[in-house]
């Protein structure tokens, strides 16, 4: 079995588990809905402010949903000591990390595809340039999922993992979220292609750095 096949095997396992339990889907959709609805109510008096806030609301909902998704993916592993067994199979550590990353990224991207039009609807924003917006979601969620998956593994065995995970990961993931928000705002607002491409390049650069660093360091995260 090649490392790539191992990676997909782990992704398939995570996806299958989520399809069975729906734990992440229910929690994240509910959380995203609460964020969008409350902020829509709070800002409903000012139309301009709503347009201005829409990209931030989208990414707040996505970011918190991403944390829940990554934490839950390791929670499933910890039940019955399955994670321990997973680490004892003769497979590269990188395959485990990338397999779980792919599952989290896939989930966050799908969630983004749902959250963006819903936010647009609630905040009365017209969605333009959908391919570019989709690209922002793909690159933004990739950077976020990389850090979330890595730090979720780091905190998986800690008692205070639920509170530590966001505390540890958010400072690191700020540049990705910032660029994703800027790019989304630009697409919704002025639509200046050169600005959008500039943000996308920075996003891509962060994704590449995070990809290399997290994959290389994951081995140490699993050592006890």
């Amino acid at each position: 079995m090649s490392d790539l096949t191992t990676l997909f095997t782990i992704t398939r396992k995570d996806v299958l588990q989520e399809l069975r339990s729906k734990a992440v889907t229910v929690a994240t959709l509910f959380f995203a809905a609460v964020v969008i609805v409350i902020l829509a109510f709070a800002l409903s008096e000012d139309r301009d402010l709503m347009t201005l806030a829409a990209p931030g609301v989208m990414w707040v909902a996505l970011a918190f949903a991403g944390v829940i998704s990554a934490a839950q993916s390791y929670q499933n592993e910890l039940e019955e000591n399955a994670y321990e067994q997973l680490l004892l199979f003769p497979i590269p550590r990188a395959s485990i990390f990338l397999g779980k990353l792919l599952a989290n990224w896939l989930y966050m991207t799908l969630l983004g595809v749902v959250i963006v039009p819903v936010t647009a609807l609630f905040f009365n924003v017209s969605l333009k340039n959908l391919p570019l917006l989709f690209l922002v979601i793909i690159l933004g969620t990739l950077g976020f999922a990389l850090i979330a998956t890595f730090y979720a593994a780091l905190t998986a065995n800690l008692r205070a993992r639920e509170s530590l995970l966001p505390v540890l990961m958010f400072p690191v993931v700020v540049p990705v979220v910032q660029r994703a928000v800027f790019a989304t705002a630009e697409i919704i607002g002025q639509g200046d292609i050169s600005f959008i491409l500039g943000h996308l390049q920075v996003l891509l650069a962060f994704d590449l750095v995070y990809f290399v660093v997290c994959t290389a360091l994951f081995h140490f995260v699993t050592e006890e």
Partner: protein, 244 residues
Amino acid sequence: MLLETSHPAIELSGLARRYGREFVLKDINLVVTPSKIVVLKGNNGTGKTTLLKVLSTRLRPSKGSGKVFGCDLVERAHEVRKSVAYLSVSGGSYPSLTAFENLKLAAQLYNLEFTSAELEGKLEGVGLLQARNKLVREFSSGMKKRLGIARVLLSDAELWLLDEPYNALDESGQKLVDELLDTARLDGRTVLMATHDLERVQRFADSVLELCGGTLKRHGVLTQLEDEVVFATQDLPAPLRGEP
């Protein structure tokens, strides 16, 4: 296919492991030759599971060194994992997957080709064929353990590390573990097994090691024992011989 090797199955030298400041294993010296079945006994909290986890590469030694079939536990951990199968107390299966899916996943991650019929055969061997499509979440502790045994049998590992294999099993399940040990004997596999049930493993064990306060205190040949309290040697030379 078992390895033809001139290396000891297990070779530990001055191995220690600590959690925080407390040493759970202290200065463990041990050599186990291949194809031996070695029983590890000791009271609760004396480090049996920790020793098995260190040998499985799940935990790193805090001091000293260890090798499995000549491969260092730290430097060549990936190679060690190819030759080791570990049965944990809880079974180590995914609760949201069925018994069949768990076994199929294990086969894929061991890089072994099995047809569905062959995997079903493995499940039948541990008495879980009827429960093949049942989620592990709905399993009893004994059924989870049986699934863990199926995973060990599925692997091609030369060294089996079994942590309390008789735990949670009914009489037929315990006979299953007996068969597992018979299979290991026939195949020439090495087994290191933590158990309290010395009477049960009497006919399988080549040696008994006792962990006491994190150190290997005594050992003996079980078949020569009249009573589990009596061990052949009190003062052990280093390294301890894990064979008669």
